[in-house]
Protein backbone atom coordinates (compact mmCIF):
# COMPACT_ATOMS: atom_id res chain seq x y z
CA UNK A 1 0.00 0.00 0.00
CA UNK A 2 1.28 3.39 -0.88
CA UNK A 3 1.90 6.37 1.35
CA UNK A 4 1.93 4.81 4.81
CA UNK A 5 5.23 6.26 5.99
CA UNK A 6 7.18 9.51 5.83
CA UNK A 7 9.78 8.18 3.38
CA UNK A 8 7.05 7.04 0.95
CA UNK A 9 5.45 10.47 1.10
CA UNK A 10 8.81 12.16 0.46
CA UNK A 11 9.50 9.86 -2.48
CA UNK A 12 6.07 10.46 -4.03
CA UNK A 13 6.27 14.22 -3.47
CA UNK A 14 9.67 14.29 -5.21
CA UNK A 15 8.09 12.54 -8.20
CA UNK A 16 5.46 15.26 -8.51
CA UNK A 17 8.13 17.94 -8.05
CA UNK A 18 10.42 16.26 -10.61
CA UNK A 19 13.16 16.34 -8.01
CA UNK A 20 14.34 12.75 -7.91
CA UNK A 21 18.04 13.18 -8.66
CA UNK A 22 20.11 13.76 -5.58
CA UNK A 23 22.77 15.98 -7.07
CA UNK A 24 21.78 17.56 -4.68
CA UNK A 25 18.00 17.69 -4.37
CA UNK A 26 16.33 21.00 -5.18
CA UNK A 27 14.02 20.55 -2.19
CA UNK A 28 15.65 19.18 0.93
CA UNK A 29 14.24 16.31 2.97
CA UNK A 30 13.94 18.68 5.90
CA UNK A 31 11.66 21.11 4.07
CA UNK A 32 9.43 18.34 2.65
CA UNK A 33 9.11 16.65 6.03
CA UNK A 34 8.32 20.03 7.60
CA UNK A 35 5.58 20.56 5.01
CA UNK A 36 4.17 17.15 5.91
CA UNK A 37 4.09 18.19 9.56
CA UNK A 38 2.25 21.38 8.61
CA UNK A 39 -0.17 19.43 6.43
CA UNK A 40 -1.45 17.34 9.35
CA UNK A 41 -3.09 20.13 11.41
CA UNK A 42 -4.32 21.74 8.20
CA UNK A 43 -6.07 18.48 7.34
CA UNK A 44 -7.46 18.25 10.87
CA UNK A 45 -8.93 21.73 10.52
CA UNK A 46 -10.92 20.58 7.50
CA UNK A 47 -11.60 17.02 8.56
CA UNK A 48 -11.40 16.56 12.34
CA UNK A 49 -13.13 13.20 11.95
CA UNK A 50 -9.98 11.79 10.35
CA UNK A 51 -8.10 12.34 13.60
CA UNK A 52 -10.47 10.83 16.14
CA UNK A 53 -8.27 9.28 18.79
CA UNK A 54 -5.10 10.34 16.97
CA UNK A 55 -2.47 12.72 18.29
CA UNK A 56 -1.08 14.76 15.44
CA UNK A 57 2.60 13.90 15.04
CA UNK A 58 5.44 16.22 14.11
CA UNK A 59 7.90 14.72 11.65
CA UNK A 60 11.55 15.71 11.73
CA UNK A 61 13.40 13.21 9.56
CA UNK A 62 12.81 11.26 6.38
CA UNK A 63 12.35 7.79 7.84
CA UNK A 64 9.80 5.00 8.12
CA UNK A 65 7.65 6.71 10.73
CA UNK A 66 4.00 5.94 10.07
CA UNK A 67 1.82 8.85 8.97
CA UNK A 68 -1.57 8.37 10.65
CA UNK A 69 -3.94 9.15 7.81
CA UNK A 70 -6.87 7.22 6.39
CA UNK A 71 -5.86 5.66 3.10
CA UNK A 72 -8.66 7.45 1.24
CA UNK A 73 -7.16 10.84 2.05
CA UNK A 74 -3.40 10.34 1.80
CA UNK A 75 -3.20 11.96 -1.60
CA UNK A 76 -4.45 15.22 -0.06
CA UNK A 77 -1.40 15.38 2.21
CA UNK A 78 0.94 14.81 -0.72
CA UNK A 79 -0.74 17.51 -2.80
CA UNK A 80 -0.52 19.94 0.11
CA UNK A 81 3.20 19.29 0.48
CA UNK A 82 3.81 19.80 -3.27
CA UNK A 83 1.92 23.06 -3.07
CA UNK A 84 3.94 24.17 -0.07
CA UNK A 85 7.20 23.40 -1.85
CA UNK A 86 6.17 25.36 -4.90
CA UNK A 87 5.14 28.39 -2.87
CA UNK A 88 8.84 29.05 -2.41
CA UNK A 89 10.50 31.80 -4.37
CA UNK A 90 12.00 29.68 -7.10
CA UNK A 91 12.39 30.41 -10.79
CA UNK A 92 11.29 26.88 -11.65
CA UNK A 93 7.92 27.27 -10.08
CA UNK A 94 4.81 29.13 -11.05
CA UNK A 95 2.45 30.45 -8.42
CA UNK A 96 -0.52 29.08 -10.30
CA UNK A 97 0.81 25.54 -9.99
CA UNK A 98 1.30 25.96 -6.24
CA UNK A 99 -2.21 27.33 -5.85
CA UNK A 100 -3.60 24.49 -7.92
CA UNK A 101 -2.01 21.86 -5.67
CA UNK A 102 -3.25 23.60 -2.52
CA UNK A 103 -6.77 23.69 -3.96
CA UNK A 104 -6.55 20.04 -4.97
CA UNK A 105 -5.51 19.15 -1.43
CA UNK A 106 -8.55 20.94 -0.02
CA UNK A 107 -10.83 19.39 -2.60
CA UNK A 108 -9.53 15.91 -1.85
CA UNK A 109 -10.47 16.39 1.79
CA UNK A 110 -13.88 17.97 1.32
CA UNK A 111 -15.24 16.55 -1.92
CA UNK A 112 -15.79 13.10 -3.35
CA UNK A 113 -13.80 13.80 -6.50
Amino acid sequence: MALETVDKYVSFIRELLQDENNSPYRYSDTSIVRALSIAMPEAKKLRPDLFIGVTIPTFTVNDTTVVPMDEMYRLALAYFCVGMMQLRDDEEVQDQRAAAFMQMATAKLTQVA
Binding site: L46, D49, I52, M72, T110, Q111, V112
Partner: protein, 217 residues
Protein backbone atom coordinates in the same frame (compact mmCIF):
# COMPACT_ATOMS: atom_id res chain seq x y z
CA UNK B 1 -24.92 -7.18 18.14
CA UNK B 2 -24.13 -9.93 15.71
CA UNK B 3 -21.15 -9.36 13.44
CA UNK B 4 -23.22 -9.98 10.32
CA UNK B 5 -25.83 -7.39 11.29
CA UNK B 6 -23.34 -4.66 12.09
CA UNK B 7 -21.35 -5.45 8.94
CA UNK B 8 -24.51 -5.11 6.86
CA UNK B 9 -25.34 -1.79 8.52
CA UNK B 10 -21.84 -0.42 7.99
CA UNK B 11 -21.70 -1.58 4.38
CA UNK B 12 -25.05 0.03 3.67
CA UNK B 13 -23.78 3.27 5.18
CA UNK B 14 -20.40 3.15 3.42
CA UNK B 15 -21.86 2.81 -0.06
CA UNK B 16 -24.16 5.79 0.52
CA UNK B 17 -21.52 7.97 2.21
CA UNK B 18 -18.55 8.11 -0.13
CA UNK B 19 -15.38 8.96 1.76
CA UNK B 20 -16.73 8.43 5.27
CA UNK B 21 -14.39 6.74 7.71
CA UNK B 22 -15.44 3.92 10.02
CA UNK B 23 -14.36 5.92 13.06
CA UNK B 24 -16.78 8.70 12.25
CA UNK B 25 -19.58 6.25 11.44
CA UNK B 26 -19.09 4.69 14.87
CA UNK B 27 -19.31 8.11 16.54
CA UNK B 28 -22.54 8.93 14.74
CA UNK B 29 -23.92 5.44 15.36
CA UNK B 30 -23.60 6.11 19.09
CA UNK B 31 -25.54 9.38 18.67
CA UNK B 32 -28.23 7.68 16.59
CA UNK B 33 -28.72 4.84 19.06
CA UNK B 34 -28.86 7.28 21.97
CA UNK B 35 -31.60 9.29 20.29
CA UNK B 36 -33.43 6.15 19.18
CA UNK B 37 -33.50 4.58 22.65
CA UNK B 38 -34.42 7.84 24.42
CA UNK B 39 -37.29 8.47 22.03
CA UNK B 40 -38.64 4.96 21.50
CA UNK B 41 -38.03 3.46 24.98
CA UNK B 42 -37.64 0.01 23.42
CA UNK B 43 -34.66 -1.06 25.56
CA UNK B 44 -35.92 -2.11 28.99
CA UNK B 45 -34.51 -4.00 31.92
CA UNK B 46 -35.88 -5.18 35.26
CA UNK B 47 -33.47 -4.55 38.13
CA UNK B 48 -34.08 -6.06 41.58
CA UNK B 49 -33.06 -4.25 44.73
CA UNK B 50 -33.58 -5.13 48.40
CA UNK B 51 -35.56 -2.85 50.67
CA UNK B 52 -35.04 -3.17 54.40
CA UNK B 53 -37.84 -3.07 56.94
CA UNK B 54 -36.20 -0.33 58.94
CA UNK B 55 -35.14 1.89 56.04
CA UNK B 56 -36.20 5.48 56.75
CA UNK B 57 -38.52 7.39 54.45
CA UNK B 58 -36.95 8.82 51.31
CA UNK B 59 -34.14 6.27 51.33
CA UNK B 60 -32.32 6.32 48.01
CA UNK B 61 -31.83 2.91 46.40
CA UNK B 62 -29.08 2.70 43.81
CA UNK B 63 -29.92 0.53 40.80
CA UNK B 64 -27.46 -0.41 38.08
CA UNK B 65 -28.07 -2.06 34.70
CA UNK B 66 -26.43 -5.40 34.07
CA UNK B 67 -24.44 -4.15 31.06
CA UNK B 68 -22.94 -0.91 29.79
CA UNK B 69 -26.09 1.18 29.62
CA UNK B 70 -27.49 4.36 31.09
CA UNK B 71 -30.85 4.43 32.86
CA UNK B 72 -33.03 6.98 31.12
CA UNK B 73 -36.45 6.58 32.73
CA UNK B 74 -38.26 4.63 35.39
CA UNK B 75 -41.26 2.72 34.07
CA UNK B 76 -42.41 1.38 37.41
CA UNK B 77 -41.39 -0.34 40.62
CA UNK B 78 -42.97 -3.64 41.62
CA UNK B 79 -42.99 -5.55 44.90
CA UNK B 80 -41.69 -9.02 44.16
CA UNK B 81 -43.71 -11.83 45.66
CA UNK B 82 -41.16 -14.19 47.31
CA UNK B 83 -43.23 -17.16 46.12
CA UNK B 84 -43.29 -15.95 42.51
CA UNK B 85 -39.93 -14.33 41.96
CA UNK B 86 -40.10 -14.54 38.18
CA UNK B 87 -43.05 -12.16 38.15
CA UNK B 88 -43.15 -8.49 38.73
CA UNK B 89 -45.79 -8.37 41.45
CA UNK B 90 -47.97 -5.40 42.30
CA UNK B 91 -46.96 -1.91 41.24
CA UNK B 92 -45.91 0.55 43.92
CA UNK B 93 -45.24 4.27 43.93
CA UNK B 94 -41.65 5.32 43.31
CA UNK B 95 -39.61 8.16 41.83
CA UNK B 96 -36.25 8.52 40.14
CA UNK B 97 -35.19 12.16 40.28
CA UNK B 98 -31.64 11.23 39.35
CA UNK B 99 -31.18 8.33 36.91
CA UNK B 100 -30.24 5.24 38.88
CA UNK B 101 -31.49 6.53 42.26
CA UNK B 102 -34.92 5.22 43.22
CA UNK B 103 -36.99 6.60 46.10
CA UNK B 104 -40.12 4.81 47.29
CA UNK B 105 -43.34 6.68 47.95
CA UNK B 106 -44.00 4.56 51.04
CA UNK B 107 -41.57 2.31 52.86
CA UNK B 108 -42.63 -1.32 53.49
CA UNK B 109 -43.21 -2.58 57.02
CA UNK B 110 -41.16 -5.71 56.33
CA UNK B 111 -38.09 -6.40 54.24
CA UNK B 112 -38.84 -7.15 50.60
CA UNK B 113 -37.29 -7.31 47.17
CA UNK B 114 -38.44 -4.60 44.80
CA UNK B 115 -38.09 -4.72 41.04
CA UNK B 116 -37.50 -1.54 39.08
CA UNK B 117 -38.40 -1.60 35.41
CA UNK B 118 -36.32 0.97 33.57
CA UNK B 119 -35.73 2.35 30.10
CA UNK B 120 -32.10 2.19 29.03
CA UNK B 121 -29.98 4.00 26.53
CA UNK B 122 -26.42 3.57 25.33
CA UNK B 123 -23.39 4.52 27.34
CA UNK B 124 -19.64 4.39 27.08
CA UNK B 125 -17.53 2.37 27.05
CA UNK B 126 -18.06 1.09 23.57
CA UNK B 127 -16.61 -2.26 22.57
CA UNK B 128 -12.91 -2.51 21.89
CA UNK B 129 -13.52 -2.23 18.15
CA UNK B 130 -15.35 1.07 18.70
CA UNK B 131 -18.93 -0.07 18.26
CA UNK B 132 -21.58 1.00 20.71
CA UNK B 133 -23.10 -1.79 22.82
CA UNK B 134 -26.84 -2.52 22.69
CA UNK B 135 -29.04 -5.64 22.37
CA UNK B 136 -28.69 -7.60 19.12
CA UNK B 137 -32.43 -7.81 18.54
CA UNK B 138 -32.66 -4.01 18.27
CA UNK B 139 -30.39 -3.90 15.23
CA UNK B 140 -32.10 -6.94 13.72
CA UNK B 141 -35.56 -5.44 14.08
CA UNK B 142 -34.83 -1.75 13.48
CA UNK B 143 -31.98 -1.91 10.98
CA UNK B 144 -33.78 0.39 8.51
CA UNK B 145 -34.51 2.95 11.24
CA UNK B 146 -30.93 2.95 12.43
CA UNK B 147 -29.60 3.25 8.88
CA UNK B 148 -31.85 6.24 8.21
CA UNK B 149 -30.66 7.92 11.40
CA UNK B 150 -27.05 7.23 10.56
CA UNK B 151 -27.37 8.55 7.00
CA UNK B 152 -29.32 11.60 8.15
CA UNK B 153 -26.78 12.52 10.82
CA UNK B 154 -23.82 11.96 8.52
CA UNK B 155 -25.28 13.91 5.62
CA UNK B 156 -26.03 16.89 7.86
CA UNK B 157 -22.33 17.41 8.64
CA UNK B 158 -20.95 20.52 6.94
CA UNK B 159 -18.16 20.48 4.36
CA UNK B 160 -17.74 16.76 4.00
CA UNK B 161 -17.65 14.76 0.76
CA UNK B 162 -20.95 13.11 1.77
CA UNK B 163 -22.74 16.31 2.84
CA UNK B 164 -26.24 16.43 1.36
CA UNK B 165 -28.77 18.68 3.06
CA UNK B 166 -31.76 17.46 1.07
CA UNK B 167 -31.09 13.80 1.64
CA UNK B 168 -30.28 14.51 5.28
CA UNK B 169 -33.77 15.97 5.78
CA UNK B 170 -35.26 13.01 3.91
CA UNK B 171 -33.50 10.41 6.04
CA UNK B 172 -34.04 12.25 9.32
CA UNK B 173 -37.75 12.51 8.61
CA UNK B 174 -37.89 8.76 8.01
CA UNK B 175 -35.87 8.17 11.17
CA UNK B 176 -38.20 10.31 13.29
CA UNK B 177 -41.33 8.68 11.90
CA UNK B 178 -40.02 5.14 12.30
CA UNK B 179 -38.77 5.89 15.81
CA UNK B 180 -42.23 7.14 16.73
CA UNK B 181 -43.67 3.92 15.28
CA UNK B 182 -41.21 1.89 17.35
CA UNK B 183 -42.42 3.71 20.45
CA UNK B 184 -46.02 2.78 19.64
CA UNK B 185 -44.98 -0.85 19.10
CA UNK B 186 -43.27 -0.76 22.49
CA UNK B 187 -46.39 0.50 24.25
CA UNK B 188 -48.27 -2.42 22.68
CA UNK B 189 -45.58 -4.95 23.51
CA UNK B 190 -44.90 -5.65 19.83
CA UNK B 191 -48.26 -7.38 19.62
CA UNK B 192 -50.42 -7.06 16.56
CA UNK B 193 -53.69 -5.19 17.25
CA UNK B 194 -53.18 -5.34 20.98
CA UNK B 195 -54.80 -2.66 23.08
CA UNK B 196 -52.58 -0.09 24.70
CA UNK B 197 -54.39 -0.57 28.04
CA UNK B 198 -54.08 -3.46 30.49
CA UNK B 199 -56.10 -4.77 33.35
CA UNK B 200 -55.22 -3.01 36.61
CA UNK B 201 -52.92 -4.35 39.29
CA UNK B 202 -55.64 -5.87 41.47
CA UNK B 203 -56.57 -8.13 38.56
CA UNK B 204 -52.89 -9.08 38.38
CA UNK B 205 -52.49 -7.99 34.84
CA UNK B 206 -55.14 -10.04 33.10
CA UNK B 207 -58.81 -10.84 32.98
CA UNK B 208 -58.11 -14.26 34.42
CA UNK B 209 -56.07 -13.01 37.33
CA UNK B 210 -52.83 -14.49 36.05
CA UNK B 211 -49.53 -12.97 36.97
CA UNK B 212 -46.42 -12.36 35.04
CA UNK B 213 -47.50 -9.89 32.47
CA UNK B 214 -44.30 -8.07 31.77
CA UNK B 215 -44.97 -5.01 29.76
CA UNK B 216 -44.57 -1.29 29.99
CA UNK B 217 -47.39 0.60 31.67
Amino acid sequence: MSAADITRLMNNARIRLAGATDGLLQVELFNVMDEFFKTSNVWNEDIDFPVGASDPANTIYEITPSGPALINMLIGVYIVDPNHTTERGPLTGAFMSTPGEVTLQTQPSSAATYRASVVLTVQDPTKRDGYVVFPAWVLAKYRDVILDGLLGNMMSQPNKPWTNTQLSVFHMRKFKNKTAAARVEWTRNNSYRRQAWVFPGFARGSQHGRRGWGAPQ
